[in-house]
């Protein structure tokens, strides 16, 4: 319903809008770096508050506005422009908002119901139709209120675009800081807006290839502690971790099966022949899926659980193949260009993201599996890597370079809206987007 205008010619000049400059707690802040559509004006009216203290524990309207702004599809208007500050639907005067040409109005309030108990209520209106599009009331505590605000933003976003919101999801990534003896690797999990960042593993040896479990409670990753590679699975809530693969040579590239019971992994063995294996997490037994002298690696499951997509250089350069999980002859999937690595399917199974050599630059490309495998290059760096789809299949996150350091960017799968997540320091790499949270 919002006005989406596509500039089919040149890109708009890169716009740098620092959104969270004041927040000292987040290591990563978000900038809109480039977009190719006109964001739709909306009004997120400051929420009302009734409770014991002067202010609500959280500015819920600000969290919702920031989420919508960060999507690149909406431009929340400034509070000073608003002609009224209704907090209930009954008090909304649609004329006030039609004059401002906003396409949606959100009003709401936070009420304290107990010592650490609140309700958050919001309503979304279309001022031109004069109708309510969605309204919801949710319980919250001080600890959960930010997440509740993200979920309100998810509902608003979906109602306005038809695309599921991913504001309540998280991102895991690896950072490296320092040099020589002081070099420190960290595996970090944060909300997708950069808030609530915490380190789940810190090591003087490299950490690689984090992968979410489908219930988003665990991460699998590769660690080089003890100067050899091994694969671990760590439970986020408890911090408990267990080693699941420690064979001679390469133990790499873990990815969970859709049911969470198995990992696809790369094993090299003493002779260093990297092949794709399936590891059962309960029994620790492995089953070999490929047997080839070439490098076979970077396996990932198709969302229906039937295929493993992987990268192999059996034809010379790296290209994407797929093999049935039950075994069989691998079938080549990518043909465009000399280098297509790190395949990741969108959760809806319709698109395939790869690292693609685009005239000498390593960039993220998205292949439309439903349209004759048409490839769209969606990033613009020289050394972009590690694409990972958001659970709504609409957006990807990946790593690019800024001077010497890795930084993260997101881009819509059509390449139209690209944003940089600004890091405060260190080399940030290998972002992986969590599945939808379960409430």
């Amino acid at each position: 319903m919002h006005n989406q205008r596509f500039c089919t010619g040149l890109l708009l000049a890169p716009l740098l809008v620092l959104l969270f400059a004041g927040r000292a707690s987040a290591e990563i802040t978000v900038e809109i770096t480039e977009w190719n559509i006109e964001p739709a004006p909306v009004a997120i009216v400051p929420f009302g508050w009734s409770g014991n203290s002067t202010d609500a524990p959280l500015d819920v309207a600000e969290v919702i506005a920031a989420d919508l702004r960060r999507s690149g599809r909406f431009a929340p208007i400034d509070e000073s422009q608003m002609l009224g500050r209704p907090t209930r639907g009954a008090d909304v005067d649609f004329d006030d908002w039609r004059i401002l040409k906003v396409e949606a109005v959100v009003v709401g309030r936070v009420e304290q119901t107990g010592d650490n108990a609140y309700t958050v209520q919001f309503q979304l209106f279309d001022p031109f139709a004069g109708t309510q599009l969605v309204g919801y009331r949710m319980p919250a505590s001080r600890g959960t209120m930010r997440r509740v605000a993200h979920r309100a933003a998810d509902m608003i976003y979906e109602k306005l675009t038809g695309i599921k919101g991913v504001f309540a999801t998280r991102v895991a990534y690896v950072t490296a800081q320092g040099e020589g003896e002081d070099r420190l690797y960290r595996l970090i999990v944060a909300d997708q807006d950069g808030e609530n960042e915490y380190t789940i593993l810190e090591s003087g040896d490299p950490i690689m290839s984090p992968a979410w479990s489908p219930d988003s409670r665990q991460l699998a990753y590769v660690s080089f502690e003890g100067s050899r590679s091994s694969i671990w699975v760590q439970t986020l809530r408890t911090g408990n971790r267990r080693q699941v693969s420690n064979q001679p040579g390469v133990n790499g590239a873990p990815a969970f099966s859709p049911d969470g019971r198995q990992l696809v992994v790369t094993l090299g063995g003493a002779d260093g022949n990297l092949d794709i294996h399936v590891l059962d997490l309960a029994t620790r037994q492995t089953r070999r899926l490929t047997r080839h002298r070439a490098i076979d690696t970077e396996g990932s499951w198709s969302p229906d659980g039937r295929y493993i997509y992987f990268n192999s250089d059996r034809a010379g350069g790296p290209q994407v193949y797929r093999v049935p999980v039950t075994g069989g002859t691998p079938e080549r999937v990518t043909f465009e260009g000399s280098y297509n690595a790190r395949p990741r399917l969108s959760p809806d199974g319709k698109k395939l993201a790869v690292v693609h050599n685009d005239r000498g630059n390593f960039r993220i490309a998205v292949i439309d599996l439903e349209r004759d495998n048409q490839m769209v290059v969606v990033s613009a760096g020289r050394q972009d890597e590690s694409p990972s789809f958001a659970p709504n299949s609409d957006t990807l996150i990946y790593a690019t370079r800024q001077a010497r350091n890795g930084v993260l960017e997101t881009v819509t799968a059509d390449g139209l809206i690209r944003q940089r997540l600004e890091s405060r320091g260190g080399d940030v790499r290998e972002p992986v987007w969590s599945p939808f949270p379960r409430f």
Partner: protein
């Protein structure tokens, strides 16, 4: 970004109205008692070794250097040990046969391209050195390999000099 790519836009509309029935604010705690190894502190902190660049290929064969070079460098997209470096590897094989010591061959790649694929390229280089040692009679039991891919660069930077310094195998003696 070529603008033609931008024309291929698709906005997948998952139009199903989402009714979040019974959505409480809290995630449900789910302790997992099956996990046995505890703690976040299991990662050991043995320091990285970044001082190997500078040895290696410049040491002429037969040069009476008590410190035998421990790093072998590789050309772009290559897994062949050059002839000068082959003599260094051979001297290591003599040393290994005499001493019975164990070595770890650490393979590395430059930063270009995908990280896990670069693990494969580093392993390929380590295996090239391993095969040379084994041809000289060093038993497989004395040799292990590890590939760090692009994760432990000897030199930071995104130019040919750094790439060349990083495409390497380090021969490391273990106690």
């Amino acid at each position: 970004m070529a603008s033609k790519h931008w024309l291929n836009k698709t906005l997948p509309l998952t139009a199903a109205a989402l009714l979040l029935a019974g959505c409480g604010g809290n995630t449900i705690p789910d302790p997992e008692p099956t996990d046995t190894v505890g703690g976040n502190d299991g990662a050991s902190a043995s320091g990285g070794d970044f001082d190997n660049w500078g040895g290696g290929e410049d040491v002429p064969a037969g040069f009476d250097n008590p410190e035998l070079a421990d790093t072998i460098y590789f050309e772009f997209d290559s897994y062949e040990v050059g002839s000068a470096d082959a003599q260094i590897v051979n001297r290591h094989s003599v040393q290994l046969l005499e001493s019975g010591a164990s070595v770890r061959l650490e393979g590395h790649a430059d930063e270009r391209g995908s990280r896990e694929y670069n693990i494969g390229l580093g392993e390929r280089r380590a295996q090239a050195v391993r095969r040379m040692l084994m041809i000289q009679g060093v038993p497989a039991s004395q040799i292990s390999t590890v590939s760090f891919g692009e994760e432990r660069p000897a030199e930071f930077g995104s130019d040919e000099t750094a790439y060349a310094a990083n495409r390497r195998v380090v021969i490391r003696y273990e106690n």
